[in-house]
């Protein structure tokens, strides 16, 4: 059964059903929005450090804002879209869209996804969502500005923020969710049905585990936010009042708190949707660059499964200050703190992998180890947010901002960068410059920690997370200098990404040709000579070994053995 298609430019690069091409499409989309959202972060930081001064020329101030001044309305739109874009348009396409597509079929030995056409539609739905989202900037009253959570009444048509930006935001998010769902169906079924002979579940690389569990969470919980968005959309378009209450309501019965519940029933699993792929990728990379089997790989997989289950019953910890019953608050606190048990177990497994390993500090490894650091810090500070008594004080302060940037943003960003440095040779057939990669690492890692650690200090000192002008409050005067220095380091962090952009594009064009297996990794994708044709494997591989066979004494001439090679006896 072999067919050969003459492919035109359109079927090969634009409307392709090849998972590798779709992966690249998602990667470009994700990188574009990462730059866009990142730039918005710099504008936010400028405003927090120098609230009275117009933006400097190098932040293109006068291009976007009259006189370079960010008004309060602009500022609301900035942090709203920064969050929305980073979560749904940068991280999701990069880790789930790009690496989910690229890695899953290659690592399990499949010719493509189970439903290639659905895969293509998934990308183009995401593209449509992006167009709708960007179109909201063209509206006279600007884009959405109710925060990334879009709580009513901020997002409600009556008493909310003026303009139709919120409507387009809701529509765009619904479309993005649909795209995610299509991807989730594909990933789940591909893993269940398309594994090569011998590829048992526990022989799957942990990257595939992470992506698979993410997809399961997506399939279950994205429809929940879809329900919330449908109600919000009806409120905004045809004038129902599901989320309108009190003096604003013309009819009795609406409930804004309902939105918060629906949002967080999805929203908390979403945190794990974002981070599970990064956990999986990091678990694998640590093993490759320590030249050791991943310590307790099965336990890591089981811990990730446990977290998937727990993540669905802890959403209330986002809502301690909504006046919920103390008993319920305690229950949510207990369940939330339970998550620290499986997290600690696989964290120790990561350390166990590194322990007495033969460490190679290539750029992917540096970024993978950075995930350990930032996720460790983020996880520990999560305990303060999970505990009702301390959360009541810390709620909605910069502490929370620092915390979730450590766990969700920094961990996932570094995990994604590790993945890019790691799989770049396989994706584009070229090598990235390792020296620039290391420079990029250090010049990102140090400022990033300065920025997010000190955000937690700001929050502890009482700075609210969505303040327009901290100088208006006398009690924040002592930390003004800290705001300025954070902004300085944020700028360094932001502009140092230009090194990465240069390295990425330059390597793609002028890079040295990469050999088939530059990292001496043992998973299936590295057995293929590049460029990998549509259909991947000439003959379906048979799998004999686990995904982390490094330094096995049975293998004499080298320190690794591919998953598809029989172990010498």
């Amino acid at each position: 059964m072999s067919e050969h298609h003459e492919q035109t430019f359109w079927t090969k690069y634009i409307f392709s059903t090849d998972h590798k091409v779709i992966a690249k499409q998602f990667l470009w989309l994700g990188l574009f929005f990462l730059a866009f959202g990142g730039f918005q972060a710099l504008l936010i930081r400028w405003q927090l450090a120098y609230p009275d001064q117009p933006l400097p020329w190098w932040l293109l101030g006068t291009l976007f804002y009259e006189g370079g001044v960010i008004t309060p309305d602009h500022y609301n739109a900035l942090f709203t879209m920064h969050g929305t874009i980073m979560i749904f348009w940068a991280i999701t396409p990069m880790l789930i869209g790009a690496f989910g597509n690229f890695v899953i079929p290659l690592q399990i030995g499949a010719p493509d996804m189970a439903f290639p056409k659905l895969n293509m539609i998934s990308f183009w739905t995401m593209f449509l969502a992006s167009v709708v989202l960007l179109a909201s900037y063209l509206l006279p009253e600007g884009t959405a500005a109710g925060g990334w959570t879009s709580y009513p009444p901020l997002s409600a048509p009556v008493g909310g923020i003026a303009g139709e930006g919120q409507t387009l935001w809701t529509l765009a998010l619904t479309l993005a969710g649909t795209s995610t769902l299509m991807g989730a169906v594909n990933y789940i079924i591909t893993v269940v049905r398309m594994r090569a002979p011998g590829m048992t579940y526990f022989r799957m690389p942990l990257s595939v585990w992470g992506l698979w569990l993410t997809s399961i969470l997506n399939a279950i919980f994205v429809p929940i936010i879809a329900a919330g968005l449908i109600l919000l959309l009806l409120d905004r378009t045809i004038g129902t009042q599901f989320f309108v209450a009190g003096g604003l309501a013309t009819v009795e019965g609406g409930d804004p708190l309902l939105y918060q519940h629906v949002f967080w029933i999805f929203g908390h699993p979403e945190v794990y949707i974002l981070i599970l792929p990064a956990w999986g990728i990091v678990s694998d990379l640590l093993s490759v660059f320590s030249r050791k089997p991943a310590f307790g790989a099965r336990v890591t997989a089981i811990c990730m499964c446990t977290i998937v289950v727990l993540s669905s019953i802890v959403w209330g910890h986002h809502m301690y200050t909504t006046g919920m019953s103390p008993l319920l608050g305690k229950a949510f606190m207990f369940l939330t703190l339970l998550i620290s048990i499986p997290s600690s177990i696989f964290f120790l497994n990561w350390l166990g992998t590194l322990w007495r390993g033969n460490l190679h500090f290539d750029p992917p490894m540096l970024f993978a180890m950075a995930v350990l650091w930032v996720f460790g810090l983020g996880g520990l500070t999560g305990l303060y947010n999970a505990t009702v008594t301390s959360d009541i004080y810390l709620h909605d302060t910069m502490f929370v901002v620092g915390h979730f940037h450590y766990t969700m943003a920094a961990s996932v960003l570094f995990g994604g960068l590790a993945a890019i440095y790691f799989w770049f040779p396989k994706m584009f057939g070229k090598k990235m410059n390792p020296l620039l990669g290391k420079l990029h690492f250090w010049i990102s890692f140090i400022p990033l920690n300065y920025v997010f650690f000190n955000m937690m200090v700001l929050g502890y000192a009482g700075q609210h997370r969505r303040l327009y002008d901290p100088n208006e409050y006398e009690f924040l005067a002592p930390i003004n200098d800290l705001n300025i220095s954070i902004t300085f380091f944020a700028m360094v962090l932001g502009f140092s990404q230009l090194i990465f952009a240069y390295n990425f594009i330059n390597s793609m064009i002028n890079g040295e040709k990469a050999e088939a297996n530059p990292w001496k990794a043992n998973t299936l994708e590295w057995t293929l000579e590049g460029p990998i044709p549509h259909g991947n494997f000439a003959t379906t591989p048979t799998v004999y070994n686990g995904p982390h066979e490094y330094s096995n004494p049975a293998v004499k001439d080298r320190d690794w053995i591919a998953q598809s090679e029989p172990m010498p006896t």
Partner: protein, 193 residues
């Protein structure tokens, strides 16, 4: 181009498609679970809840629609049986009838909406109306999707003369029976309870 000749088209086997459809149905279930739970919360909090099926005509139309969808599931089953024996004409007849019943369901639903709007219950007039039009509307959108899918399945399965490809019929059938079941749940929760 490349010297390697590879299988560029993935042959998705029937069980794989079946599992994919199950995941889709699972996601639709979660959507309606969220909507129905939201409905129950709004209803519990409401000081007075007027059942939209209080008016006898509205209730009768609801019952008629339930019966229409149940019959359509039966005609679908008949069509699928003829697909096994391979008689194309019968498949087209029975599945066409199913399709027609789906359209009749939608029209009856619109009629029900019109009657209720005339009686003063609109989506904006009170929370009962909002919930009613929202639930029936989202379900109706899924019925429209199912009608499109069924049209595709009829064309797809009978495109080659003399044979019937059963897989599209089986797949869309899962969706069809599922939406039928979903309607019964909605009918009970909206009109009866």
């Amino acid at each position: 181009m490349s010297t390697q000749v590879l299988q560029t088209k993935v042959k998705t086997d029937e069980f794989t498609s079946f599992l994919g459809m199950l995941v889709v149905l699972g996601s639709i279930t979660m959507l309606f679970v969220a909507l129905i739970v939201s409905y129950s919360i709004l209803r519990i909090q409401s000081s007075m809840w007027i059942n939209p099926g209080m008016g006898s005509i509205a209730f009768q139309l609801g019952v008629i629609n339930t019966i229409i969808l149940m019959i359509s599931s039966w005609t679908y089953y008949k069509g699928q049986q003829y697909a096994v024996t391979g008689s194309r004409r019968k498949v087209r007849q029975w599945l066409g009838l199913t399709l027609g019943l789906g359209v009749v369901f939608l029209l009856t639903q619109l009629n029900l909406w019109r009657i209720l709007i005339d009686s003063g219950m609109t989506a904006q007039s009170n929370i009962v109306g909002s919930v009613f039009y929202m639930l029936t509307g989202v379900h109706g959108l899924h019925i429209i999707a199912a009608i499109i899918a069924l049209s595709w399945a009829i064309i797809r399965s009978t495109r080659v003369t003399g044979t019937v490809e059963i897989r599209p019929i089986k797949l869309v059938g899962l969706l069809w029976h599922f939406l039928d079941f979903l309607w019964i749940c909605l009918f009970i929760s909206i009109f009866i309870i």
